[in-house]
Symmetry: C2
Subunit: 625 residues, 2 copies
Amino acid sequence: MTTDRATVIPALKNIATQLRIDSARSTTQAGSGHPTSCFSMADITSALFFAEMRFDPKDPHNPDADRFILSKGHAAPILYAAWAEAGAFDRSELLKLRELGSDLEGHPTPRLPFVDVATGSLGQGICAAVGSALNARRIKSDYRTYVLLGDGESAEGSVWEAANVAARDKLDNLCGITDVNRLGQSQPTMWQHDMGQFERRWQAFGWNTLVIDGHDIAAILDAFEKARSTRGQPTMILARTEKGKGVSFTEGKDNWHGKAFKKDELEKAVKELESQMVSGVTVKAPDLIRKPQSTSRPAETAKALPAPNYKLGDQVATREAFGDALAKLVVADSRIVVLDADVKNSTYTDRAEKVAPDRFYENFIAEQVMVGAAMGLSARGAIPFASTFACFLYRAADFIRMAAIGSNNIKLAGTHAGVSIGEDGPSQMALEDLAMCRAEPSFTVLYPSDGVSTERLLALAAQKQGPVYIRLSRPKTSVLYTNDETFTIGGLKVLKESPDDVATVIAAGVTVDQALDAHKKLKASGTSIRVIDLYSLAPVDRDGLLAAARATKGRLITVEDHYAAGGVGDAVAEAVADGGFTVHRLAVREIPRSGKPEELLDRFGISSSHIVNAVTSLVGAVAAR
Amino acid sequence: MTTDRATVIPALKNIATQLRIDSARSTTQAGSGHPTSCFSMADITSALFFAEMRFDPKDPHNPDADRFILSKGHAAPILYAAWAEAGAFDRSELLKLRELGSDLEGHPTPRLPFVDVATGSLGQGICAAVGSALNARRIKSDYRTYVLLGDGESAEGSVWEAANVAARDKLDNLCGITDVNRLGQSQPTMWQHDMGQFERRWQAFGWNTLVIDGHDIAAILDAFEKARSTRGQPTMILARTEKGKGVSFTEGKDNWHGKAFKKDELEKAVKELESQMVSGVTVKAPDLIRKPQSTSRPAETAKALPAPNYKLGDQVATREAFGDALAKLVVADSRIVVLDADVKNSTYTDRAEKVAPDRFYENFIAEQVMVGAAMGLSARGAIPFASTFACFLYRAADFIRMAAIGSNNIKLAGTHAGVSIGEDGPSQMALEDLAMCRAEPSFTVLYPSDGVSTERLLALAAQKQGPVYIRLSRPKTSVLYTNDETFTIGGLKVLKESPDDVATVIAAGVTVDQALDAHKKLKASGTSIRVIDLYSLAPVDRDGLLAAARATKGRLITVEDHYAAGGVGDAVAEAVADGGFTVHRLAVREIPRSGKPEELLDRFGISSSHIVNAVTSLVGAVAAR
């Protein structure tokens, strides 16, 4: 590692030029991409990778390595070029950019070992960076987190959610860089090169700000140093840059966003860039890299939980069982962290806060940064549980989509699902959350109906690698399972069965009690039904469902406190389709309204009496055929 | 209308007290609600309704009436109390708060004529207010838009998206009030009573700010006046208030969020409040209201579009056909407005901007305010088309949920759907957008496959009252329809049929070309299939699908550029389930990656060769049974 500036700066300049050349070549080879968005950040990237960050290109996951998150993910080619330049892989790989066989995708994903979270949906990287910075505190490491944003990206509200949380948490181990290159995709950005617009905003949000010329290597190095020595505040480096910098026909020019050079343009560009190479530089890029220092720290603890402690028939809301189970989990496993968005007294995560306040992160009413920070935490070894009302998790739908793409190890819990919340009305009722999470191929989706299953499934969620969603309910429901009952991801429970069952009713969550009530009512009139608690919706127990269908004359009725599309009914229907079975669905089919929970279950067609009617008419209809 | 302050202020004080009493009584009667969140804003509400706003309680939709949007929707009881006090309905109705039979729901919805957009998911009302303010310009009315936010709510990123857009558009007809009552749901807010935190932020975002005591009626009136006389800037009144104001045991006290008074608490509270009534006030509340002045303006124009002008077999991307059709629509119909989030050169809405720049609203990279502003515009008579890449509409999922609740007349177009976008990779591929929009019962979901159907469906979308989603594709596809072809919402097109069809392939969007290609390949080997273009996914043509199922031995294959859950397959499966038919689904079943469009269609199982294989194996399997 060389630190003498007279030696380093020419080397960094040449590296920046090389990164521009590599970005141009790879995008032209791919036939698409954003070379000019790479050019504006080339000097920053060079300085960051080869004079500032401490990392090991051969061990990107090193727990003490500084992190770099490219929030403006469309500049992926220069990220890849920088890692190639650092020696992480051979430069020739760069020419496979955007090819089906290559992990060097159009926008970065964690398929690459040096990418923590998928970016490309703007305004998310900085939220993940908050999580990464929080994790450094958790593991008592001095690693720093760097995140580079675009100027256009700064219009995303999520950026300001992250700004608030980072300042409140005094994350001085977090350093943002905004690449203010003036030009958005379709026109100049809102604030163009008016650096004061950026400065005022970041200062108002509590950040240390440094306005620099983003093409002046010495200024960039100074800014990183100042950021490093600032205590009690995150720093945002506001770098004035030119889009397309370094090539005369693109520098500061309109209409070059997202356009790869044609072959002849490439030749011209490379020639121009090569002419900028400072001669006489002998130091090699990899030799400039600062290496991370390992910190000795206690190993993570991960004890198994004791069995739950409920009494059959007791009335317990699954949201409360969640809060209690989470408080146990957070004590048993040092990797567990808890994130809230100002509803901890309704989701009962305040109980986890009480026992592990240093692993509880309050985001106030800002769901996007809550989920984004969870993504960043998970990328660094934490197991984050982020929770709020299920309907407000929907605010972070696009983060959930990106977490699915990155297969981040986040655990989301949505409470107050469905019309069963009652009087608060439709704005507080999640009726599309299962549709959201089931849509994502990498998500596990769980929906416990009682206290015991909630506690057991929560423990399974913590162990399961990858994103998990747990749906929870507001009203109290009956404890159905004994404390030694076991559950599996992808399982179901047959709660009632007899050889005479005329139909299977498949319920989940609050509708399980309704199905059991329907079972009782029907039994009184001499009709037996099978009742299934489908607590795992993704994956779903196809064989178990098919077996029930075969045993009950193919009559399947699903009942769910969710809209008709995307939930329990669709999950069952797809699982049994190849068996030739169809499903009769009871679900919420109109915009609901305020009322008492029991009234609403009935009004919107998912109460026990509707189940009874559905069974009766299904049996009658088939008999009448 | 009395304007003498010595007369007005005591009257407004008493009205504020009455609003507190009404909020307390109604929530106690309901057994739930947020009385203390109402108390903090009672003085502001009184001054706003009875000394500032120009409106007619009997004609809330008056196009020149000032608007009030309660962004902190949980304070609904005081909104209802104010309208009752104004004479919109009888005060006795207030005691039906949150009952199933009443439109006075837990949080406001447009079921009430004086509510423009549903609120209750925080941070959305101010986005809608931006749209309302933009509409005043469109119709050349001097009506003003007022929006009241909570302080906790200000942590939502969407608030700052709205702040940017409102300042950039110099919306001086927009006045925000932040009720800084210090206490959130679960704990004090991030900034508590540090008014400078709010002031710095709003000023940095370009707003005129006024910090006042939110319980000082004279100060409130002054602030409204200053806001009204400020030119070129929206104003944010930052009102320092006490949560629970007016009742000694709640004022500024913790742990009162979202709690109705018990009967005995109510009696105590009402007694205290009644003792604050100023005696000798004779002026009646309704007499204080300022009435709106009608403006004469040209009637809206809404001409029918001429027929499309495509040539069979030409290659046209539906996103481009959308841009062209929108440019025609915006000229034909003065109600049409267009909203963008810095992708207008990819969605081709720049063509609409060119012909109607004054009805084109650029939101830069901020999808939440784009959709929220569309909601506000639609509530005031505009027909807004908001568009971006379909995957980025997902950023506004919670706004879309609330628009569905309010059944707002918004039109959303999502371009670049599916893996067929190719090289940009998964972060840019919408594969859950159909799941999102199909989940909402009030949404119409359309998915054209060619230029002609795009243009026709766009015109239908504009005419259809209520929220509509149109899914569009990046790659060029064949023009399939003649220019005189007609389409209906809820329809489908049978593109290929013969008496010998062994199966029906149901495609939509980009997969229609694939299905037609499969038809050709199969025909060459002597197998006939029916091919359906399912351009309307919600509602769906159940009869048409059942007819096809019956005609093709119950063999149905869906093929879609969308994840397996929530899309075309699920839509068809539910439609035909009661007929006893099941569906074989071809869909994207894993997280995709970068590659060429054609490669990806094949890699992820939705190309013509996969359709051929599915037909062959389905026919073989059934034959072998």
